[in-house]
Structure formats: C-alpha cells, structure tokens
C-alpha cells in the first residue's frame, strides 16, 4: 500500500477539514486493517493526539472514545458490567492481544466490516455514534448509509440501562474471522437479536424482536417460534468459512441459547 502524506491531527475540526479535501484522504484509526483497505491513501489522518481513547460513565450513558482499543474495551470494568459484558466478551475473542492493542472500536465501525465481532453486540446495545458533522446517528442508520461516509467518528454512546445480554462467536480457529456471531439482549420487554458475519455486516431480526416484546412470558414454543422468525428474517450467505445452510443452522441454535440466556429460561 502507498501513503503519500501522514499527519497527526491537532483537532477534530482539522481532521475533518483534511478528510473533506480529497476522497482518498483517510482516517487510519489504529491501522490494524489498513492493509485490507485502500491500496493508495493520499493523506493518512492520525487521531491519536485528540484524547479519543477513553471510556467514561456519564449520568445516562457510557461514552467510548472512537480511538479506544479493543484491549481497553475488554479490560474496562464499565464495559464488563453492561449487558452482561457482551462487548467485552466480543473484544476478547478477536484474534490475539497484539492486534487488540492497536485495533480501535472506531476503526471496527467505520470499516463496516462484515466479519466484525464488535458491530454485532453494539447493535444489541442500541449504540449511538457521534460524528463531527452528522452529530448523533444510530449504528444501524450509519450501516445503512452510503459507503463513502467522509466524517470523523468521535465517540460511541451506549444508553445506561439494566439489561441482559448474550454473545457468541463461532470461528474455525482463535485467529480466524467468525463463521457467524450473534448477540441477543433484553431490556425489560425490549429484545434485540443480531446476527453478524453472515458473512455480510450485522443485521437485526426485527420481527422476532417484536414478537417477543408482545408476550409477557416465554415458553419453549414461543422461543422456538421466535428463533424460526429470526432465522428466516436474516439472510445468510456462503463463503470459504461456511455455507449459508450451515450458518442458518448455527443461527437457530445460538439464537435459542441467547433468548434462553437473557430470559433466564430453563426448560
């Protein structure tokens, strides 16, 4: 890969201005996946001097700086507590510590990587992204936006709440991308069921979530119906890691386990 110029931004406004100058000016985040992305970058923009690498607890929400590394995420007591620690669990299952020390949460999101293990739990946690220009935007809205999104992600906000969570990643080896990952959460009667690495980018099972929301109690039959709805609602594809059929079967098994976990349902 080729980089023409490298600059450490002294402010978010400066980073944004340079980003707007040319489409091949790029924010490099931690640089972990740089080799997988653009072969030529005109100006590589480094945000490391901007203090965006910390996690803080506010009155109503948790703020995660966009430059927070995956290793910081997994070690954070705040993150380990939220939604039964699904974001921390997801981070610690990503390859080795060396890459988790450079890969950032912002980089994981902005790449819109299909294989991401981070986007899946964040979606189950109703994560909101805070950009320099676009201000607040849900993670889902960002993922639906057009591919060339030239803005500076400042932080990720997660509303503080009492919620249950479940995350599972199925991978062939510890260092491989997931065949499938799944996050399930429950906040009172609100459910989120998210499948990632389908191999496409994570998506929610809205109909199944709504079905569970409308019911006061769960039973074996209800869970099975929700699982079938979730699995038929999301599309699964084939790549070298697994077939669509295999992914569909995995989705059913782990969606069921996820719903059982967040409802404390025991058969």
């Amino acid at each position: 890969m080729k980089i023409e110029r490298y600059m450490k931004a002294s402010s978010i406004a400066e980073a944004f201005a340079i980003l707007q100058e040319r489409p091949d000016n790029k924010i490099i985040a931690g640089g972990a996946w740089l080799k997988l992305t653009d072969p030529v970058i005109n100006t590589a923009i480094d945000l490391s001097l901007l203090g965006l690498n910390s996690i803080s607890e506010q009155d109503n929400e948790i703020e995660i700086g966009a430059m927070t590394t995956l290793y910081t995420l997994e070690k954070s007591a705040i993150i380990q507590k939220m939604y039964d620690g699904i974001l921390a669990q997801a981070a610690m299952k990503i390859m080795g510590i060396t890459i988790r020390n450079i890969a950032t949460i912002g980089g994981c999101i902005m790449g819109k990587f299909g294989f991401s293990d981070i986007i899946t739990p964040l979606m189950a946690m109703d994560a909101i992204l805070v950009f320099h220009q676009h201000q607040r935007m849900t993670l889902e809205a960002f993922l639906d936006s057009k591919a060339n999104f030239q803005d500076v992600l400042i932080k990720i906000v997660i509303p503080k709440t009492e919620a249950r969570g479940y995350f599972h990643k199925i991978a062939l080896t510890s260092l491989d991308f997931a065949v499938l990952n799944i996050a399930v959460s429950r906040k009172n009667s609100e459910y989120r069921i998210v499948f990632g690495s389908r191999p496409g980018v994570a998506s929610r099972a809205f109909a199944a979530e709504q079905y569970l929301k409308e019911l006061k109690n769960v039973s074996e039959d209800i869970i099975n119906k929700a699982v079938d709805m979730a699995a038929s609602e999301c599309r699964f594809g084939t790549n070298q890691r697994g077939s669509a059929e295999y992914r569909l079967n995995l989705a059913k098994v782990y969606a069921k386990r996820g719903i059982e976990a967040v409802t404390d349902y025991e058969n």
Binding site: R5, Y6, I28, K35, D46, M95, T98, I102, L175
Partner: protein
C-alpha cells in the same frame, strides 16, 4: 518525514516514508530480532512492545510511534535469558523463529499479571503462533518461569 522515538531506552531520530511500517524501520535500525511472518497481524512473530504493550510491527506505521517508546527483545535481554533457560528445560524450542516475539509477549503479560494461570497464559499468547512446538511445552516453560520469578520475589 522525520520521527523520533525511544528504542530500548535509546533515542532514535530517523527519516521514514509516510507509508513505512515499523518492522521496516526497526530493521533499518539494525534490530534483527524482529521477524516477518504473515505480514497481516495474524502470526505475531513481528511483535514489539509499544509503550510496553505488545503490538504487531507489521501493521503499525512508523509514523504512529513518533514520540513513543519501542522495546524489542534486545532491550529485555536479561529477562529473555531467564525465559530461554526454561524453554530449554521443557524442550519448548525448535526453530526459534517465534521466540523473540514470544519473550516480549511474556514480558508484557508479567507486567499485567505476575501470577497467570495456564489458561491465562494460553489466552494471552493466542496471537503468537509457533509452527514447531505445539504450544504445550511453551506453556509449561512460561509457567515455570513465572513460578521462579514469584519465588525469587518472595525471597
């Protein structure tokens, strides 16, 4: 472009290309312990410590380490020697290609956790691949190293 960083407690001031990776810069600085493996962050043989944290030098741009500190195995020779003795005792060595990176990862682990369990050792080193050893004897050697260090600290 010009960068300045600390390499094994020495200040280095050098010119780099904007797209140059740390592994290349370190090799130009006559650091020969860093090996190039997969070049895509998977294998861990290019590990160095950036501000005491293990990172893959194949995927860190040299420009990113400006005004930071880098440690290679040359900077922790004494610790490496002690660890190597345990590797020898446990038969954990074969080609040795991954050893410098492994020593650095163990050094970083010790800073975070001086009494790791066998599982914690495995989890911490999951990104440091070894094609020869099968990992069992490495784990035993590292556990023995931690035991000896703990014993010596108690004395």
């Amino acid at each position: 472009m010009k960068i300045e960083f600390t390499l094994n407690n020495r200040t280095i001031s050098t010119h780099i290309l904007p797209g140059e990776y740390l592994i290349e810069t370190l090799q130009k600085c006559n650091i020969h312990s860093i090996r190039r493996g997969c070049d895509t962050t998977n294998c861990g043989v290019c590990t160095v410590l950036l501000d005491d944290k293990p990172v893959p030098s194949c995927s860190v741009l040299s420009a990113q380490v400006d005004h930071h500190s880098i440690t290679t195995v040359e900077g922790i020779a004494h610790e490496t020697e002690k660890l190597s003795a345990h590797f020898g005792k446990e038969g954990a060595d074969q080609c040795g290609y991954c050893n410098p990176a492994l020593a650095l990862a163990v050094f970083a682990l010790r800073k975070e956790n001086s009494h790791p369990t066998s599982t914690e050792i495995d989890e911490y080193l999951v990104g440091n691949l070894c094609r020869c050893s099968g990992f069992k004897n490495q784990n035993k050697a590292i556990a023995a190293y931690f035991e000896e260090e703990a014993y010596q600290e108690e004395q």
